[in-house]
């Protein structure tokens, strides 16, 4: 679908300048950043820090794939390998995926999208970034001091009584990082409830706000349970008492229950904001209101609600009662439906649109395909009998990487490209970024498709060495991983380049309808000169045309 048409309209580069005053330059000095209350600056701080951790986690992924190139345990020792995948898991889940879209793009946009000058609690917003950093540093500390090899799931009694690595440091790190996400979620909920500008009714909110709202609910209600679980693990480790230790009368399954009560909703914390990004982008690049706005909005809330009641599907073979296994399997099937609804609505948003294929749209298409696969393979695992054979194998690894990397990360990159001109005021090189999008997609398929087959063949996850007959597929997967790596390095390079040399973007390069596109880019510290009044639906392109006509006439 090579199409030359584009909606990008940049100001005349000869005359265009970045605005004199913007949130980037209204205060100078490192301190002005470290003590800022401005949600946009905090978003940038988050963006930098999660990118940092993403590449650390990615490095570990690379090392894992490298070790798995051959069946023999030849690159590193077994315990080193275990530390690799533990670090990969902890960093990617708690330090990248959970804060990725909400804390960066969400932090930057939600106040603007609801027409407010800032989040409700700027100081708490900053605090949550510092908590994140402290958590991150503690993880790095655990890593430097010799690593931790519990796996990111901290399964008891392994983590409490059978390992002498830095479990305590890592668990505390996650505890702290957890509070950072609680505060982010809390801030969003209050802002969305209390600080919407006049005329901004719930059903005029962009879908990005809806999905972040749903994710915030999960953060606020789920994370504390993880916190108390980790506290119990710590106490058990330190004082040797046994809430989770069968020899002392505890029940290890209780840990599983409490842990997954957070960690299953956590995957919706990760994916929901990504879905919000996709709604914005598909609408913008097909010049159309999102098909079935209310359906998409409510499906986000439905996912958040059902997402809380399916956690035991991580325990089907662990000896939960077979009756409650049935219940949880049924609920799992129900939670799959809203996701399907979203996908179809996005697809039909394209219908009768006027579609162009800029980079964010390419990433969004990538998301649609990969997320569909990820979601459907989730149904495999939700189905009791199938789960027995598939769980704890590479099938499940492939499944959640399709949802988390293929879905969430694609959405994140899509969003970063889409709002980059708004954040920095400059465009990125289009052709190069298109190349990156395609590379990522191909690399991803090549990396994770073979793992589905490996999984059904029975290769268990977290294996350092594996039977030789699995090698071919593992080599494929590793090859794909290198391509994927390139695909992720490219944006880092050209986005960095564009900071200085990118074309001036102007207020609204995409001709998008969102409030954030009606203000200058990069925005003022207070976002709006005057608090706007929302007088039209979200994604109202006629309104946009009207407005642009008026501008032309007023200018002329």
């Amino acid at each position: 679908m090579s199409s030359t048409a584009t909606i990008v309209s940049l100001p005349d580069q000869a005359t265009a300048r970045l605005p004199k005053r913007s949130y980037l330059n209204n205060e100078d000095g490192l301190l002005s950043w470290l003590l800022t209350g401005d949600h946009k600056r905090i978003a940038i701080l988050y963006l930098i820090s999660i990118t940092f951790f993403f590449f650390i986690g990615g490095a570990f992924a690379g090392l894992i794939r490298l070790e798995l190139l051959t069946p023999q345990p030849d690159l590193v020792a077994a315990d080193t390998y275990n530390k690799f995948f533990t670090m990969h898991g902890i960093i990617m889940v708690f330090l990248f995926l959970v804060p990725s879209v909400p804390a960066t793009i969400g932090n930057f946009l939600i106040p603007i999208m609801v027409g407010a000058k800032d989040l409700a609690f700027p100081k708490i917003n900053l605090l949550s970034w510092y908590l994140y950093v402290v958590g991150g540093i503690m993880v790095l500390a655990a890593l430097v001091l010799g690593g931790v090899d519990t796996g990111w799931t901290f399964t008891t009694p392994l983590s409490t009584h059978y390992l002498n690595t830095h479990v305590i440091t890592a668990a505390l790190a996650i505890f702290v990082a957890g509070f950072s996400s609680i505060f982010t979620g809390l801030n969003f909920i209050v802002t969305i409830h209390r600080m919407r500008c006049p005329g901004m009714t719930w059903f005029r909110l962009p879908l990005f706000v809806w999905s972040n709202y749903a994710a915030s609910l999960l953060m606020v209600l789920g994370t504390p349970v993880l916190a108390i679980t980790l506290v119990l693990v710590l106490l058990e480790r330190v004082f040797g008492i046994g809430v989770f230790d069968p020899t002392k009368g505890g029940d290890p399954l209780l840990f599983q229950h409490l842990f997954w009560f957070y960690s299953h909703p956590a995957v919706y914390i990760m994916i929901l904001p990504g879905m919000g990004v996709i709604s914005e982008i598909i609408s913008t690049f097909s010049r159309k209101r999102v098909f079935g706005y209310t359906a998409v909005a409510f499906s986000s809330v439905a996912i958040a609600l059902f997402g809380f009641f399916v956690w035991a599907h991580h325990m089907f073979i662990m000896g939960v009662s077979n009756y409650s296994a049935l219940v949880f399997s049924l609920l799992t099937m129900l939670v799959a439906v809203p996701s399907a609804i979203k996908v179809f609505n996005w697809a039909f948003t394209l219908q009768k649109g006027s579609i162009t294929f800029e980079t964010p749209m390419l990433y969004a298409f990538g998301f649609l395909g990969l997320f569909t696969i990820g979601g459907l393979t989730g149904v495999f695992l939700g189905s009791l009998g199938m789960d027995i054979h598939l769980t704890e194998t590479y099938f499940i690894v492939a499944h959640f990487h399709f949802v988390m990397v293929g879905g969430m990360l694609m959405a994140f990159l899509s969003g970063v490209h889409f709002w980059w001109p708004k954040m920095t005021g400059r465009m990125y090189p289009e052709s190069l970024s298109k190349l990156a999008a395609v590379t990522t997609f191909i690399g991803f398929i090549l990396t994770f498709m073979p793992q589905f087959i490996l999984g059904y063949l029975g290769m268990p996850r977290r294996y350092h060495a594996y039977p030789p007959e699995y090698q071919v597929l593992n080599v494929l997967s590793t090859a794909g991983a290198t391509v994927l790596g390139v695909g992720y390095m490219l944006p880092l390079l050209y986005l960095g380049w564009s900071l200085k040399y990118g074309a001036i973007a102007g207020d609204n390069p995409w001709q998008a309808t969102g409030l954030e596109w009606q203000i200058q880019s990069p925005p003022l510290t207070e976002n709006f000169i005057e608090i706007p009044i929302m007088d039209h639906e979200a994604y109202d392109y006629e309104w946009l045309e009207q407005k642009q006509k008026n501008e032309v006439t007023t200018v002329g």
Partner: protein, 118 residues
């Protein structure tokens, strides 16, 4: 112009202002506080006394019922929820709902384990 006026009307529409869930601020008087305080102490006494009477299965039920009652009046009066907006009330409700569902759904597993074959 008509259009703008229309917009403006919309802007003034009370259901459309920044926070639809306004709660009129209400100052609770010391008298109410004192009454609540008395009730709490009274019920503390009652629950302690009840604990010393053997009512078999009813003991925990009564104790927890009294605890819930005390919690409710603290929430309603000390924490002003009685005079708060619908939003706050729903927030609290949702919190307890999640708490209950955590307990019920996890317990459902533990209880039904003995029914099964394994």
């Amino acid at each position: 112009m008509a259009e703008i006026a229309h917009h403006h009307a919309e802007a003034e529409d009370p259901t459309n202002v920044t926070n639809p869930e306004h709660g009129s601020h209400h100052i609770v008087t010391p008298r109410v506080y004192a009454m609540v305080f008395g009730t709490l102490l009274l019920f503390t006494a009652i629950t302690v006394i009840a604990a010393f009477i053997d009512l078999s299965w009813a003991n925990p039920v009564i104790a927890l019922f009294i605890a819930c009652f005390k919690a409710v009046i603290v929430i309603l009066f000390f924490m002003h929820v009685k005079y708060q907006s619908r939003l706050i009330k729903m927030t609290i409700a949702s919190g307890f709902f999640m708490f209950i569902s955590l307990i019920v759904m996890t317990l459902s597993d533990y209880i039904s384990r003995s029914w099964g074959l394994w």
